[in-house]
Symmetry: C3
Subunit: 399 residues, 3 copies
């Protein structure tokens, strides 16, 4: 059974549809600078070498190059030339479709102005997209349209309800803003109004001092930015009490977050307090705190996790996080994602590296730990798409 | 020498007696609900799937099923049916005796009212039990019998001394109560009396408001619960200055503890302060902070550690913690345990998975790192039982 | 290509020159007690067993024993006897030269009074040494020569400049003193003067109460010790604004540091604030926070890391840290070191274990992840010496 079974497992994982439960949109026609920027969490990579000579860069040269008609491990220069020659749409079509992802849950909260419409991405990928609504973006949009903190509070509820009708889940980037160590108590209406007043006043003061001419660039300081923990907690409680799925960025990302404050364990008190709401929490990425997230999934029935982003960036060492995610978490709470943003290379790599790592890790559990192949397939299928269908209560995969 | 040596090592580890230096008592006749509850650290598992579709659940189906006369990887339903058919005592006899554990050090501090007497467990296991006395339980019992904080302080010393005559070690669950980041200073008598007064008053206030009828269930609020860090530090200092071994819960457990506050590294200042007392500290479990505990064992001559609980729950990935525990800790400071509670499956799995992981990890060090087989055997034997005999200053294994 | 390629990779790594970018000096004629003390981070090992029965101890018996003419895995007693018979100089010559280290960057900040001159070490090693200047030592020396806080501030700048002319890099042990969670702001001159006054006054008070007779031992309390975070930040900012490389001790070491406060992630705010200075930061050791350091290298173009110290102490499990260091860090930011102190065994083991671990880890990436052998060689060569030459802007290796 050993070698044959492992071979069968690998082939089955290879053909398995994937539901990418957390991804972002694609840039319509990325320049080389765009590509490099999209391939790193650094704001400014020191050099193309930083990007290409890395776990992810080597994986890109190995797996993406052949899909563009090059030899495996083509040089960065050849890769960039092939990309230009084919054009962005063709590259996107090739890479997205080769990923075998059958459905995308798209969070468009990160620089949505630069990204193609979801419909276009769905077309290029030949797979449907679904909306994940970012709580902070909703709140920020409402604040920008409000003339007072009170008006913000009045408008916020309907805006959230409107988003809920279109979205399959909500997302919070509290990790980037106030950190995950949030007071567990549901804020009172008085707390929320007071925090809204303060945010509104603060934003008005900033906007007044920001450039107002249309040519002043993206005028970042004129857009409200939610960092207030009370409003953040209000949004989180609102989503969970509604019975929704709340995706929570955890672990690494760009330098905009403080790494230790993005540890999912920091959110333990709030997770415990919301266990009875009917809502579910999905911790995203988690690296290097995968084991901590697995423990939360073990002790709290409403907690899920994925290791998207980490799998893709780690490249050859992706096995480590795929393995650690199964340490304590019930297998039904582990879910595939890529967390790709901007360029289809990241989608392809997230899928490709997960399939390979899952085949190796679960294959090792078959040969070394007596797991029946059928059980290993069942675990893989759960992570690939079935657990996502259970969590979101929808059919994403046609069958 | 390669393959033969590794085979010999595995066979030697297989036959080795084990001293389980930290375990709990067994439920006399567990229902299926009891079994499920005992197999998880979650207060309420979402479903049997949470328990069976997990690293531990797969290991249970692999290793326990054959001992109940089933095929390996029998279904959960078949497993539960076989368990019912055999009866609790027979199941306990089979699993406990198959573990090869030659002696148990039993902490009965977790729900002792529900557990069988130690004598009965010893009979079913065909192996002697020894007492580990939980410091918090002693203090709580004394408080419940005292009419004032002063009386508590008067009675506490004799109660501790009485426990010491029967116990081979003490245990603290400070991680579940006030966290491990404790002020290192030995509390003064004045500090202790003042903390005792406050605890007594607080408990009296709670007990007055709690249900008092005999049918009001376990009336948890009427039992004192020690969370005060000053009294906790007093107990820890008392045990260590007496030259005793103090077991310290560290790392994961149920959601009653705050994970980050259970990091053994948080206790560094108190560990340093007690280095000269003659007492020894054994950090239990430690996951995911095994490497931190190993460093403490490296730099402090009175620190030991085990990876009980983690080995059992991780199942196929148990190698990771067995390996990490040997990173920095002197090999003589690493000790086997299961931390099983309530059901014999956990005892069997703790032993079974440790033997397999130790054989793989140390076998890899023989083939890949030139360790002589005899040295690998010596390291395994130390962890299995010899280091425990050294630490506790007793013969546990008949020879 | 598989087996042949891996063989070629291993042979190439074996012959590769190494630049040890962080090491300390050697004891001129270590006693057995000196040897044991130098082989552990514990202030007082409980016994020789603590040292020899450990990951590092087993590696020593495996790799150092044959270089002293013994069988592999000779007993500790035989090893010590052979060491005595050969004499310190011969042992040092054998072990240092067998390491294949082509250049040493020496931090003499740890007990320099006990160590041989660099010239002697260079002679025994047959390899040049370069100076790494420890910022705290410079400041402490200046304070000891100053009659006031003001004089300290006046003298500090010239003393730092003088050190800079001789040193290839600076080093800080902030992790051992005030911890790495430092306020990111550059301290003002007023802040520095005020902190200098306080330090001077504090030192004067201590020195007055310390023994003054020449026979009073090392009179530790009479030597100033910098723990003030403001002066520490001043030194760090000074070095980085000068465009220098600043080595930062991170992760484990002796018990003099608080482990959690040595997490490189704690320094994130200061790292971010200094990104534009032109200076570079090299986090040393990092264990068990290697992944955190890798993330900092990923998001900040001026951050480098090594896993010296950890590789040597972990012995058979060194692969884990070699692998984790490549998770997120661009490959060009990972640099070899030993962090050896006092005895040549640590130099040999740091080099030997790194070569073996790199050959296994990168060999696995060749066979399991399709890395071309030439690319694996390039990555290894970068870590071995080329990245250090790039970082320090010097030729260290003759070619």
């Amino acid at each position: 059974m050993g070698a044959d079974g492992v071979q069968h497992l690998a082939e089955t994982i290879e053909r398995m549809p994937l539901v990418d439960h957390h991804v972002h949109g694609m840039l319509p026609d990325p320049s080389e600078a765009d590509l490099l920027a999209a391939l790193t969490q650094a704001e400014h990579p020191a050099s193309p070498t930083d990007v290409f000579d890395s776990g992810q860069g080597f994986a890109l040269r190995r797996h993406c190059a052949p899909l563009l008609g090059l030899e495996t491990f083509a040089s960065p220069a050849d890769y960039l030339a092939a990309r230009r020659a084919l054009g962005s749409d063709d590259v996107a079509r090739r890479l997205l479709q080769a990923s075998g992802i059958a459905a995308y849950l798209v969070d468009d909260g990160h620089r949505p102005d630069r990204l193609m419409p979801d419909e276009r991405m769905a077309q290029l990928a030949a797979a449907p997209t679904h909306r994940v609504a970012r709580l902070e973006t909703i709140a920020e949009t409402v604040l920008a349209q409000s003339a007072s903190g009170d008006e913000f509070v009045e408008r916020l509820g309907p805006a959230l309800e409107a988003a809920a009708t279109e979205a399959v889940a909500f997302k919070t980037v509290a990790a980037h803003r106030c950190g995950l160590e949030l007071d567990p108590a549901r804020p009172t209406n008085v707390d929320v109004r007071s925090a809204a007043d303060a945010w509104f006043a603060d934003h008005r003061a900033h906007a007044a001092s920001a450039p107002t001419t249309p040519h002043a660039g993206h005028a970042a300081s004129a857009r409200p930015r939610l960092t207030d923990p009370t409003i953040t907690r209000h949004l989180i409680w609102w989503a969970l009490e509604r019975g929704a799925v709340l995706q929570v960025h955890a672990g690494f990302g760009d330098a905009d977050l403080v790494l230790e404050r993005a540890n999912p364990a920091r959110m333990q008190a709030l997770v415990a307090a919301t266990a009875g709401t009917g809502g579910r929490i999905a911790f995203l990425h988690c690296y290097p705190y995968v084991r901590e997230a697995g423990w939360l999934a073990h002790v709290f029935p409403h907690v899920f996790l994925d290791v998207g982003l980490a799998v893709e960036f780690l490249g050859a060492n992706a096995d480590a996080v795929v393995r650690d995610a199964l340490d304590l978490a019930p297998f039904s709470r582990v879910i595939f994602s890529t967390d790709a943003w901007g360029v289809p290379e990241r989608v392809l790599l997230g899928a490709r590296l997960w399939r390979d790592a899952a085949a190796r890790v679960l294959g090792g559990y078959v040969t070394g730990h007596g797991w029946p192949v059928a059980e290993a397939v069942r675990v893989a299928e759960g992570i690939a798409w079935r657990n996502a269908e259970g969590l979101y209560g929808r059919r994403f995969v046609t069958r």
